[in-house]
């Protein structure tokens, strides 16, 4: 029931926004998003499993199942574990910031805008709290619709192409995911005689499938999830969409929508197809590493600041994928932490860029710069968020990056940690060059935007509604994000402790699988050696 309320508050706010009139839309939306935040905080305080011994959902999904088609086993089940609750908190935390950030920027069709924003928030939360495949998939796909309309109506000049590409690309990908999940459900029905779409049933069942089947399921799941993550080379929708979206849209895309992909990998891929993961992890990790370096280099030559930050997401999410595939607690906790810290840092950066854009109507680094003198407060927050993104210790980006990389580094066969892995030092070493490249492009951006002599577009005139530097409203939007970045950089343990039991539960089957994987490889090597020697002997 608690979770239903969580989903319904923004929806009811939509009704309020719809009937409240154009003038009041933003205030009602702000109130609604704050109410959602408050409710989520209440939930978080009630959540009993922050430091549990084992991995549990709360409330127990079976207890609150809402049957839809009992014969087919279709029932809506909601529940959260610590990871999904953390992501819900990320979402509801950023929502008031988004509303405040769009306060002045959205001048026309306000009601519609805020309705889409709130619907987007609901859909995303729906994905995080779903404990059955059908509602997961429904929310997953439904989140495209508000995203599409925010892009198509309120976006930049290329909004048409951006919105279509965003919609079709991710939609097509997730159809494959649906196929994969449907196949698992069908096999489950075949072998147990009962239809069920509950994630818990499917995740316990799927690992019993053969390695070949698991491989195909992995491929199908990845087709949908890798687009969202996004994994190289499936990333091209992202720079376009992030670049063209209005501020609140960019913030949401970067901070939350991208996390759907990684969260999906955590919910489905790791528990369902462990054998295939062990086999294919190096391949996927290679794509992630390519993405890190490739996108970072591309960032470095961007002149459009939003595109730069968009590409930086591709680079950053590569670290999170690596952490997930390290198959050890360090990497997994780092990966979950990465989802949160990337959400805050990059979301905050997009918010800052939006504030600058409202004043100067350009995001071209060649036209604008040296704002530190004119907008010191803005520059302060911008620099804090840049360094959170760079991964400076003391801010949250460092903890996640460090854990992901050390997890990847120690994912070696026969690791003393008790969690052997299939990656290893080379993956981490190449990915770690992303640290240098990250500093290069982010400081290039900061140097252009904040420092140097003041450069303003030729046709610039002061905005009548906006002060020269940030207003209190804008500070209220961005300051909480900066504070969170600092707090979780110094005090990461609440999150790390919350994820500990989850990591152990999810990774339980892996050490044995990885070891047998290496044994098989050894055996195969021996067999080939044997045949070679026999052949030579027969000669």
């Amino acid at each position: 029931m608690q979770l239903w309320i969580l989903l319904l508050i923004p929806l009811f706010t939509c009704v309020g926004v719809g009937f409240g009139g154009e003038r009041n839309a933003r205030a009602i939306a702000l109130g609604g998003s704050l109410a959602t935040l408050a409710w989520a905080v209440v939930l978080a305080m009630q959540f009993p499993h922050w430091q549990a011994e084992q991995w549990l959902y709360w409330p127990a999904p079976e207890a609150n199942a809402f049957p839809v088609i009992p014969g087919l086993g279709i029932a809506v089940e909601l529940g959260v574990d610590s990871v999904s609750l953390l992501l819900v908190l990320l979402n509801v935390f950023l929502m008031p910031c988004c509303v405040l950030g769009s306060w002045v920027a959205i001048k026309e069709r306000r009601r519609e805008f805020y309705i889409w924003l709130l619907v987007l928030s609901t859909c995303v939360m729906g994905v995080f709290v779903s404990r059955d495949v059908i509602s997961f998939y429904t929310f997953f796909e439904a989140s495209l619709v508000p995203g599409f309309f925010m892009l198509a109506i309120y976006g930049g000049p290329d909004r048409r192409e951006a919105s279509f590409k965003f919609f079709i690309y991710t939609f097509v990908g997730s159809l494959f995911m649906l196929l994969g999940l449907a196949y698992v459900a069908w096999q489950h029905a075949q072998q147990t005689g009962d239809w069920s779409f509950a994630i818990s049933d499917l995740t316990t069942f799927a690992p019993t499938l053969s390695a070949g089947e698991q491989g195909w399921i992995l491929l199908a799941l990845l087709a949908g999830l890798a687009v969202k993550v996004p994994l190289f080379p499936l990333h091209t929708w992202l720079p376009l969409a992030h670049n063209q979206a209005p501020t609140a849209g960019s913030v949401n895309f970067a901070a939350v929508i991208l996390k759907l992909g990684l969260y999906g990998m955590y919910v489905f891929v790791l528990p369902m197809v462990p054998e295939a993961v062990v086999t294919w992890a190096p391949t996927i990790a290679v794509l992630a590493v390519i993405g890190i370096v490739y996108a970072a280099l591309i960032c470095w030559v961007q002149t459009d600041v939003k595109k730069l930050i968009a590409y930086s997401s591709v680079s950053h999410m590569g670290f999170a994928v690596l952490g997930l595939l390290a198959l050890n607690p360090l990497g997994l906790q780092g990966s979950v932490f990465y989802m949160l810290s990337h959400g805050f840092a990059t979301g905050g950066l997009f918010l800052c860029i939006g504030m600058m854009y409202e004043r100067y109507h350009t995001k071209d680094l060649r036209e604008i710069g040296g704002l530190a003198f004119k907008m010191p407060v803005w520059s302060f927050f911008f620099i804090v968020l840049v360094f959170a993104s760079v991964g400076l210790p003391g801010l949250n980006g460092f903890v996640s990056e460090f854990l992901c990389l050390i997890g990847t580094f120690t994912a070696v066969p026969g690791a003393q940690t008790g969690y052997p892995g299939v990656l290893g030092p080379w993956f981490a070493a190449v990915a770690a060059t992303g640290m240098i490249l990250g500093a290069m492009y982010l400081l290039y951006m900061t140097g252009k935007l904040c420092f140097g002599p003041l450069r303003e577009p030729a046709d610039h005139h002061e905005h009548e509604e906006l002060p020269k530097d940030l207003s209190l409203r804008e500070i209220a939007a961005v300051a909480p994000i900066a504070v969170v970045c600092l707090v979780f950089g110094i005090m990461p343990w609440p999150i790390l402790h919350a994820v500990e039991p989850v990591a152990e539960a999810v990774l339980k089957p892996y050490p044995a699988l990885v070891e047998s994987h290496f044994e098989q490889m050894d055996a195969a090597a021996k067999v080939s050696l044997l045949t070679d020697t026999t052949l030579e002997g027969s000669r």
Binding site: Q190, A439, Y510
Partner: protein, 744 residues
Amino acid sequence: MLSAIAHTALANVAMAGGGDSSHGLPAGAPFGFQVPIPPVVDEQSFALAAWMIWLPVLSAVLCGIYAALGVKSRLPAWTTVAALAGSFVIATITVSKLDFASPVVVHLFDWIDISWSSGSGSAGDQWHGLRANFALYLDGLSAYWILFVTFLGTMIAFYASEYMEEDTGVGYCRFFAGVSIFLFAMTALVLGENLVMLYLGWEGVGLASYLLIGYYYKKPAAVAAAKKAFIMNRIGDLGLALGIYLIWLEYGSLEFGVLFAALQSGSTGAGQYDGWAATLIPWCLMLGAFGKSAQFPLYVWLPDAMEGPTPVSALIHAATMVTAGIYLIARTMPFFLMNKDLGGHALEAVAWIGGLTALLAATIAMAQYDIKRVMAYSTVSQLGYMFMGLGLATSFGACYHVLTHAFFKALLFLCCGAVMHGFGGQLDLRKLGGIRRIPGWGVVCGAMLVGSLWLSGIPGTAGYFSKDEILAQAFISEGAGFRFLGWIGILTAGLTAYYTFRVWFRIFTGPTHFKPEESHAHDSHAGHAGMDGQEDHDFHPHAPGLRIKLVLTVLSLGAIWLAIGYFVGDVWGTQAWIKNAIMHSSAGTGLQLMPAGEHPTLFGFEPHTAMYFISGTFGLVGLSIAYWLHCANRKAADDLRAWLIGRRWIAWLPRAMEHKWYVDEIYIATIRFPLWIVSQALYMFDRVFVDGIGVNGTARLPKLAASLFQPLYNGKLQGYATSMAGGLALVIAWVVWVWMRGSV
């Protein structure tokens, strides 16, 4: 007589470093190093120690609040000075309570503390968690470092309170917030109990350096220099980070106490990737050290960093931050000794890179006209000496040189700052001269003379003793070509004396003439900039005020005290105290610095004795040449230059030295530009191939097929939505069909 006193002092040091049993170093310990006793966790008697870190944090926060409130007074400066002085006092109290024989760990709060039950059940004991908490590790090395860091921090902040006065307001707050952040990070670096906290400080000083180099953020050169410093440092940080990962993989801990205990028991790592631990860890750490301490090939950021305000150059880019690399290697010396013991060459590489950097930077410093750049290259060169000392396994020599260098180089920079401040931002030594005779400049002149003498290593000065400690060791330690390396160091000592006194003679002697900087673009002199072109005639240098003079005097006295402390070391106990501190920490090597049974000689003398004459001679020769060319007969200098430029076979030499051997240009041509081209190519590739052909091409395939069903595809959203609905319907139909078949 001088020689006799010095000789006994030097001999004492040689004995202390020699690891003989009288100093209680365990003979035959694994890898030949002496490891501290496991640290004692003591939060009661060292509760105060945490404030060494928190006071600078507090002052940074306060400065931020002042900026927000628009404070226009000197409040930020006094807050910072008070906080740093408090930090120094606490450091003194803490160190006085500390027994070097038993390191102390003070836990502050949990940071990264992860544990798990073993996955496969086969885990080693130590690998059940990753612990990197905020905790202090107090031993001789960190005590030694923290004392001079906080002392010089206080002094330089006091100096800056006057120096930065033109910027009172937001800039003043920003400056002192940056200094406070720096001190916080530096104390965290030095006192950190584990490698991750060290890394926090390591990157934190990088941040402070970035913010303060870019203090005059309207100047493109300053912004570029700040960015360059951070990125070059990040290259080093990559090495440090990989070293940390590798250490954890091999030893299962990042805490110094645990690591040293493991190394003492002879552990060469967990054997994952055989031999990686011993071979790779030192090289990774070395890369980190070379980035932060500006050694070849990562030194190019330091001279550019002189764009920052001079107190910053003195504090961060001369006295404290750049010695962090020395600290890192001294702290992790056991890994290097393990490497040496197993036949690796990491220490030799440290020595050689240090020595060659010293020579390279000294040659560049000889031909620069900007006095701050001369001092910057001199810092690179002196840091090279320190690395040479570490590589030659005389960590005492290296660490002692860190201290003397911190004093005299801070002094030199502060004098340069006073000159620059007084003469309208002028730094070109061709446009200043005879300042000695202008009233009010006596203190600066004297202080700079002390600094120059100490840097040149003129006999009897502290710089001379600490440098010779290193140089003589080159003729004692066994290693690849160390004797040749020693001669490189001696040659560099001569060059050092020359370029140092070139600056001093040019600025302070000869006919008095001065000119303010033409562009006057400097922000710190924005007050003057309002005047029109008449300023050359109206320009009056303003002599430094009381606070600057006070700081210069104190630092000069400190430098002199270090020299005297050397002569009467046993009386005042300074030198014995330092030796004790270093030798009882992880930097303390138990290596036989003297090869057993051998008595290496230099020209038939004991190397320390011989070095006394040799390097003294080289220093005096360098000084004399500087005197001849830049004081007594300045025309000779011009003639010499004209002669060099006029000869085609040698003309490249002065030109290359003036252009810093074109290292920056080489980097741009071989790394930065190709990388930029690659990035542009990748961006093109991303648009044309990945997005264009890959994505849009695939997207067109259905359209081609769909041309059969033209009416359905009108390019409108509705059309797409219909087809999507159709697709979804097909999928659902398939599921239902499968279900039907399954249930039948």
